[in-house]
């Protein structure tokens, strides 16, 4: 049944494939997919897993893609090599969009053979098999997904022992659940061994690339970062795809920050909405807590007014924005880098905010930890920019390192300092010339400690003022403070190949860019210098990168090319040399998209 285009079995493709599994939401397929992913990881092979789920709880189509790459490419790939179709509602469509030569696995009664003669077909009698191995009728709908794991185990050579180990871990060792799933796993593998004749070229094989590595979602990584950053107050409001960040954080805090008497050195509070969460951040940051929330686009929009207050009244806190596809409610379960403008310029009047931009879980961990320091050092809100792809998908990562930098609290005016100064201080006085003034914390026990905080005009010693010179003076100081922050935020990662053409990017497009750059170099003879921006404000290195290249392509996972816009707005020398590579359909960008758009523009 296999046709032209399919590689000869001899030309076996080892540890380099993309697997897509189509199921229905809430059908329990997440367990099966995670078992596959973890087993591959345990075999020492680089993997990544991306979950494409609908914005409902049960019944709608969902897809999981696993990319296996001996060379460590873990970005999304557009096409799949192996496709498992468990969802009869979408099977026709899934099969129709398969690339020529793909291996297709599906319930045999769905009869897809004639539709795609250019693919390799593996019909499987799932219904029959599940009846054979799962006596409990009610459970079959869930357990059937373990069958395809078994089938794939045989087909691709995934080790059964690792699958079982992964299953055990995935089910938290709950014996009852394990006993229900293992028979299906084994039955699938057994049936495949007996009935399937391998005709596709893909297989996996143990290697040793994962030493010192972990598999983790970015939300969990960021939550750990906040834990080790010494967070104390976490007001939040649930919103996809950020909820799991706060939920993980609450778990970690409860486990690791409850003392022997059951007393907690933290407070996690579910606010009534995002405005209240932002208000609580403001009150808590003002009163000296290290305070964090996580939200997504609609939440950031709601916080818009309070963000201006916090900028202007100089209140430290951190917002992890796990971006989804917008505008509006948009596609809550899809990814995008669509809130860059929103975050940087949030609120009315002249405002700018610090944004830290990790590209992978390890950086998410590190920047989360640091974000609390940056917020307190600059007494201002700090955004940690994540997106659904980083936050909720499964990433291979090096183990996180224990933070080397201490917890810093910024310029805190203590009772002792006040006594030395005989109480003579001004909350908004720029005594150090860096735009950052000293602050006291409420409760500081000195008669001169208190000051009046407000969103209205004020003098250097915190008195109300409407005078033009006070207003301008204060705004200029805030601009100076932002200038100082340029020297503090993470510098970009620049890789130079001596090219006059640059490619600038940020966040989760990292893996696709890496892959695209390699492909452009290897297959198209185009070497590119890379600049991965890791923060706003842009540091000098970003400006230098632009200045030193003739053309700079900017990769944006949004429609309007928001990073390119901000670069042009903030770095006047950009001018027309900045060009955009854009992707905005809700899916993570692929290397192929970058390569195509780059080449097309270079030709034009």
């Amino acid at each position: 049944m296999s046709t032209a285009g399919v590689a000869d079995p001899v030309a076996t493709v080892v540890n380099d494939l993309s697997l897509h599994v189509a199921t229905a939401n809430g059908s329990g397929s997440q367990t099966s997919n995670m078992v596959l992913l973890r087993a591959l990881f345990q075999m020492g092979i680089p993997v990544s897993g991306k979950n494409l789920f609908p914005s409902n709880i049960q019944g709608l189509p969902t897809w999981f893609t696993i990319r296996v790459s001996k060379d460590g490419w873990i970005a999304r790939k557009r096409d799949s090599d192996v496709l498992v179709c468990m969802n009869p509602d979408t099977v026709d469509e899934d099969v129709a969009t398969a690339r020529p030569g793909a291996a297709l696995i599906y319930e045999e009664t769905l009869n897809q053979q004639s539709k795609r003669p250019d693919c390799i077909h593996y019909p499987v009698p799932f219904k029959k098999l599940i009846a054979e191995c799962c006596p409990d009728l009610k459970l079959r709908k869930l357990v059937v997904n373990m069958l395809y794991v078994g089938v794939l185990s045989h087909l691709l050579g995934i080790e059964m022992a690792e699958l079982k180990k992964a299953l055990n871990r995935q089910l938290h060792g709950k014996q009852k659940a394990i006993d229900i799933n293992v028979p299906a796993l084994e039955h699938g593998a057994k049936w495949a061994a007996e009935h399937m004749k391998k005709r596709d070229p893909f297989r996996v094989q143990r290697m040793d690339a994962n030493k010192g590595r972990i598999v983790v979602e970015g939300n969990a990584a960021a939550a750990m970062g906040f834990l080790f950053g010494g967070v104390t107050v976490v007001p939040w409001y649930p919103i996809t795809p950020s909820s799991s960040l706060c939920e993980s954080l609450e778990e970690y805090l409860t486990e690791y920050r409850t003392d022997a008497d059951g007393k907690r050195s933290f407070c996690v509070i579910q606010a009534e909405d995002e405005i209240a969460a932002a208000g609580m951040l403001t009150g808590a940051g003002w009163a000296g807590a290290r305070t964090v929330t996580a939200t997504s686009g609609p939440g950031v929009s709601l916080m818009n007014e309070i963000l201006g207050l916090a900028y202007f009244a100089e209140i430290p806190f951190v917002i992890a924005n796990v971006q989804r596809t917008g505008p509006s409610t948009g596609l809550p379960t899809r990814t995008m880098q669509g809130d860059l403008l929103t975050m940087i310029y949030a609120s009315h009047g002249d405002t700018k905010h610090i944004v830290l931009i990790p590209s992978d879980p390890k950086e998410a961990f590190e920047m989360a930890t640091e974000s609390l320091n940056v917020a307190e050092e600059f007494q201002t809100p700090v955004f940690l920019m994540l997106d659904l792809d980083l936050g909720m998908n499964y990433w291979m990562s090096d183990r996180f390192e224990y933070p080397k930098a201490p917890i810093t609290r910024g310029k805190l005016m203590t009772r002792e300092k006040l006594e030395q100064l005989k109480g003579a201080w001004g909350r908004y006085a720029d005594v150090d010339g860096d735009g950052v003034a000293w602050r006291t914390l409420p409760g500081t026990d000195h008669p001169a400690a208190a000051y009046f905080t407000r969103g209205t005009g004020h003098t250097p010693d915190a008195k109300y003022s409407e005078k033009p010179e006070h207003w301008k003076g204060n705004m200029d100081r805030l601009a100076r403070k932002f200038q100082t922050a340029k020297g503090r935020v993470p510098k970009p990662v620049v890789t130079s190949k001596g090219s006059k053409t640059g490619l600038l990017y940020y966040g989760t497009t990292h893996e696709a860019v890496r892959e695209a750059a390699a492909s452009l170099e290897d297959k198209h003879g185009r070497k590119l210098d890379l600049c991965r921006v890791r923060a706003f404000p842009f540091t000098k290195e970003v400006e230098d990168f632009i200045a030193s290249h003739d053309r700079v392509y900017v990769v944006d996972n949004n429609r309007d090319g928001q990073m390119a816009m901000v670069l042009r707005a903030e770095v006047p020398t950009c001018g027309p040399k900045v060009r955009s590579v854009l992707h905005y359909d809700g899916m993570p960008i692929t290397a192929a998209t970058i390569v195509e758009q780059f080449l097309a523009q270079e030709k034009a």
């Binding site: 972990i214 598999v215 983790v216 750990m224 080790f228 010494g230 104390t232 107050v233 007001p235 970690y252 690791y256 920050r257 409850t258 059951g262 007393k263 907690r264 050195s265 933290f266 407070c267 509070i269 606010a271 009534e272 909405d273 405005i275 209240a276 932002a278 208000g279 609580m280 403001t282 009150g283 808590a284 003002w286 009163a287 000296g288 807590a289 305070t291 309070i306 207050l309 009244a313 183990r399 996180f400 224990y402 933070p403 201490p406 917890i407 006291t440 914390l441 409420p442 409760g443 026990d445 000195h446 008669p447 400690a449 208190a450 000051y451 009046f452 905080t453 407000r454 969103g455 109300y464």
Partner: protein, 350 residues
Amino acid sequence: MAGTTEAPEAGPSTNRIGLGKKDYAGSKSTLCVGCGHDLITARIIDSAFDLGLKPENVVKISGIGCSSKTPAYFMSRSFAFNSVHGRMPSVATGASLANRQLKVIGISGDGDTANIGMGQFIHLMRRNLNMVYIVENNGVYGLTKGQFSATADKGSKQKWGTVNTADPVDLCALAIEMGCGFVARLFAGNTKMMKQVLQAAMAHKGTALLDVISPCVTFNNHAGSTKSFPYVKDHEAALQDIGFVPVYDPTYQEMKEGEERVVSLGDGSKITLKALDNSHNPTDRIAALSMLARSRDDAKLLTGMIYVSPKAQPVYAETQQMVDAPLASLPAEVTRPPKTVLDKMMDSLS
């Protein structure tokens, strides 16, 4: 020139913590001369002085409005945060979580609380933070020049004659409905009751809601207004004669029960309520709600303790098992877990 508060009453020149009245003073008011809000300011100064609150342990938090400006006019030695319109409750919540040892005085207006701030008001009332929530209620938006707020009575008239067609929001009823354990309605011009209840509210462990009718002399003091000084003076019906017995008072003796109710306020202080209207039992939640509903139907302005919980409710920090020390000042040894924790987490992911 503008907005003077009344001359202080005669009394001892220092209080139990050795501070003078001026240690509780604020900047000069910039409100209109005669504004009800300035009377409340004066009573807060009196009460904090009499109670001997330590200013450094108090934070004053407000929204936006004439009322919300008042934290500038009392207790300059206390930290203050004049935040944004309608969001005092969440900012106060954050501050209180960061440092549970602070006594929060929240100041708001009727527009700030009953219009834009309604959601936050209701949700704050469910939390029982250690806080006094004062609504300086004049039935209008003073600062934006006299539009009706949601507490304006139906049929009451705006300065330019427009008649209000909406029913008023009763903040006391909502607070009780949401479980608030200390709810009073007051009139800014009733000095004695203001002082007694303010002191009790400050001593109360948990959230106290004071809905204080505070006439706006510039925009809502005309005939046809139901929140003018003359109208309120005419229509005020005090529920009780109120006495406050602070816990530290050495002369304190067990009170005789009788028509006088004595309610303990958690920190050991007590409030004594001598009923003027014998039908109301202020420790009965359902009765309090019914009375408020009836009084609205009868257009009566009842002042006094509307409801006080007969037993102390745990404050939010207790329900959350928070450590006693302020979270804001925990040392890094407490807030950053050791390396072994990270190692364990990494192991579980590899």
